[in-house]
């Protein structure tokens, strides 16, 4: 049995670790709430935009835009954007995204000769480097609070490349936030845009049908601007979902770590008490032995 003193030292160090994991859990919790609020705000915006498009379509406008063009069955070059975290300590969050990204990359490489992989987050960059996959672009500036204007610049860059024909397809691999208990790594094709509406947005009631709507300056001019806006908000939503999922993953991982630390502390305390008792018993036996030796 190890000495009581070493056991006590180990217990103290585990207590320190527990303090750290507990704090990280609380921080992640707070950040998650904020990230969720931002995601909700973006959903509200996206929903409004979808309503606007719906009203336009109802009033008899045909939606046509180069960003919506049907994709050729064999795209010549694609872009793959992978959204990971800058930091670890969040369970399987990064691993899940990277695994899916690599699977998708392999599948895509059968059909598409040229794939540019863009990665956001230090973890993803490191993981791809390990697999000898050189990313075309890397971003570490998005952190856990992606700003809209930063995402907008990125979105405009992709749109420009798509419109110039440099890429025929843009896929984003990210962790989608479904609910506080369910987040999944998913692949979403953002370019060409499949639809303008949020297909799974909650239905808050339809817009008043049959009302005549004035369109200024013209439906075409609005469409010209609405389609890019839809793309930007979609991309922004991916970033926000990834951020919210990262925090919740970290929260869960740190909660488990704290519980494990508790368990180890309990176990060590028991062993420590036993070791101490054994030591005391041993000392008493020695004293008794000594006394008896003196008496005889």
């Amino acid at each position: 049995m190890p000495k009581a003193r070493t056991l006590d030292k180990r217990r103290a160090s585990i207590r320190n670790i527990r303090k750290i994991t507990r704090t990280m859990e609380l921080i992640a919790n707070g950040r998650f709430r904020k990230a969720l609020d931002r995601a909700t705000a973006a959903t509200g915006y996206a929903w409004r935009l979808a309503q606007l498009v719906a009203t336009l379509v109802e009033s008899g406008t045909t939606v046509r835009h180069p960003l919506l063009a049907a994709t050729p069955t064999t795209p010549r070059s694609c872009a793959l954007l992978v959204l990971t975290a800058n930091r670890g300590m969040c369970g399987g969050f990064n691993a899940g995204v990277i695994r899916l990204a690599l699977e998708h990359y392999t599948q895509l490489s059968w059909r598409c000769p040229q794939i540019a992989v863009d990665v956001s987050g230090k973890r993803g960059i490191a993981a791809l480097k390990q697999r000898n996959l050189a990313p075309a672009q890397t971003f570490t500036q998005f952190e856990d609070r992606p700003a809209y204007h930063a995402v907008q610049t990125l979105a405009d860059d992709y749109m420009g490349r798509f419109l110039r024909g440099e890429i025929q397809r843009l896929d984003v691999v990210y962790t989608r936030y479904f609910s506080s208990t369910r987040q999944e790594a998913v692949v979403e094709t953002l370019l060409p845009l499949a639809s303008l509406g949020e297909s799974d947005a909650p239905d808050h009631g339809t817009s008043p049908a049959g009302t005549l709507v004035e369109v200024l300056p013209s439906a075409d001019s609005i469409l010209e601007e609405v389609v890019p806006a839809c793309f930007r908000i979609r991309l922004f939503k991916c970033f926000l979902d990834a951020a919210a999922s990262e925090h919740i993953a970290r929260m869960v991982a740190m909660k488990a770590a704290t519980e494990n630390a508790d368990e180890i502390i309990r176990h060590l305390s028991m062993t420590y008490n036993r070791a101490r008792q054994a030591q005391i018993t041993g000392e008493i036996m020695e004293i008794i032995g000594g006394v008896e030796a003196l008496q005889s």
Partner: protein, 132 residues
């Protein structure tokens, strides 16, 4: 009784304003549009400029960065990339942006429209900063 307007100004990041108003002026792409209560339903494209929200005699101005507006049932929804009170517009940054926009290349039609857009954005910001 004349109903009041509800003006809702949203960006992808948050809702900037949600307030009642007597009158709202919007910077459409091709000129300003005033909206009074009971306005007919409308969808419009916004340019760079200022949204003025008037309540009684008090007028509040917000700088908006393009976007859309939808008006229905006395509710004015303004969807924009960026919206901030004119007092918060950074004048120095706007001047820098104007300088940078002037130096943009002017060869292809796309470049021309991009430059034009950047110039209009910078000028609208400067204008907003001067009014603050």
């Amino acid at each position: 009784m004349i109903p009041r307007l509800t003006c809702i100004l949203v960006t992808p990041e948050h809702t900037v304003v949600e307030a009642e108003a007597d009158f709202v002026a919007l910077p459409l792409d091709d000129g300003e549009l005033g909206v009074a209560p009971r306005r007919a339903p409308l969808i419009g494209r916004l340019g760079f400029g200022q949204v003025r929200v008037r309540v009684g005699r008090k007028e509040t101005r917000y700088y908006v960065d393009a976007g859309f507006v939808q008006i229905a049932d006395n509710v004015v929804y303004v969807l924009t990339n960026r919206a901030l009170p004119v007092e918060a517009v950074n004048r120095a940054a706007a001047e820098q942006q104007l300088e940078a926009a002037r130096k943009l290349p002017l060869v292809t039609p796309q470049q021309e429209s991009a430059r034009d857009r950047a110039l209009r954005q910078a000028r609208a910001q400067l204008h907003a900063a001067r009014r603050a």
